[in-house]
């Protein structure tokens, strides 16, 4: 089973990278770009757990290490 975890800065946290990428995209002519948030993608390969167990475990992994909830939100999906 693979957990695909996406970690992004919380909406209220200023994201200097996102702002710079937004400016870059606009400079390239992508004038429709309104906002960019730059985050992190983590793939976790898991062995021997049911989807339900895995979901609980991955959620705990996110809370304890993969995301810093002071500044980041996370979401993940499981692929069997």
């Amino acid at each position: 089973m693979i957990a695909r975890v996406v970690v992004v800065p919380k909406p209220v946290v200023n994201d200097p990278q996102g702002v710079t990428v937004r400016q870059g995209l606009r400079a390239l002519g992508f004038s429709e770009v309104e906002d960019v948030r730059v985050g992190r993608y983590v793939e976790v390969r898991l062995g021997g757990a049911s989807a339900e167990e895995a979901g609980t475990r991955v959620d705990e992994m996110c809370r304890r290490l993969l995301a810093n909830q002071v500044i980041e939100d996370y979401r993940f999906e499981l692929e069997t």
Binding site: V12, N14, P16, Q17, I71
Partner: protein, 236 residues
């Protein structure tokens, strides 16, 4: 006063801190490896600057789970002194020993330069040799020193006098231009509610001797040494 300087894989300021402790202020020193579970009698633990564990995932995120950090957390809970400098500040925030977090500098650059700091609290063990409002000159060297916390946490820090150092100009004015990384409210250093844990991004260990361009950092090391000295034995 015995200082314990923690060394993680990737720490780079440990010898600078150790040099100041032993050769400049003449205090006792022990280096603590990240696998150590015993602080070996250290009164004040220094978490120095660097790139612990390569700053993988987030600065301080992995260091926080080192065996030594369990001992550091217990030491802090007992009221022991803990001083996080640069990467050490990031570790303390990740470990939850200090509130908030340090994100990428607003300018997206690694900033390595001298800055001015205003001492907001001179009644801490870390700053007792400074005057309230005193402006000191100390170098920074970081890419992730942009202090963030939610507004309630920031208000609470202010209300309880936990902001110890702020970036300012040479006259002590806290302005956007004097803020090298975009930190909320110009925050350069904070302490915990109990006052025994301090985190700061600037590097006092790099300005403790005139040969290095400044001696203001020495005031903080002296403060800690004096903090451990009974009043009757203190000089001047």
């Amino acid at each position: 006063m015995k200082f314990g300087v923690v060394v993680f894989p990737g720490t780079w300021s440990d010898r600078d801190c150790g040099h100041v402790v032993t050769h400049v202020v003449g205090a006792d020193l022990v280096y603590l490896w990240h696998r150590d579970r015993d602080l070996r009698g250290a009164d004040c633990v220094i978490l120095p600057g660097g790139f612990s564990y390569g700053d993988y995932l987030r600065p301080g995120a992995i260091a926080r789970f080192s065996p030594v950090m369990e001992a550091v957390a217990e030491h802090a809970a007992r009221g022991g002194l803990v001083w996080g400098i640069c990467n050490g500040f990031q570790v303390l925030c990740e470990a939850g020993l200090l509130p908030g977090a340090l994100i990428r500098n607003a300018c997206l650059e690694f900033r390595c330069e001298w800055v001015h700091l205003r001492c907001e609290r001179a009644d801490t063990p870390f700053t007792r040799c400074l005057q309230p409002g005193q402006v000191v000159r100390v170098p920074i060297a970081h890419e992730e020193g942009n202090y963030v916390a939610d507004p309630d946490t920031l208000d609470e820090l202010e209300r309880h006098g936990q902001v110890v150092l702020r970036y300012c100009d040479a006259e002590g004015r806290v302005t956007d231009a004097a803020n090298p990384n975009g930190s909320a409210r110009g925050i350069a250093g904070i302490r915990n509610a109990d006052g025994n844990v301090l985190g700061m991004m600037p590097h006092p260990e790099r300005c403790a001797e005139a040969d290095l361009g400044g001696t203001d950092g020495l005031l903080m090391f002296r403060s800690l040494v004096e903090a451990a000295t009974p009043v009757g034995r203190r000089h001047g």
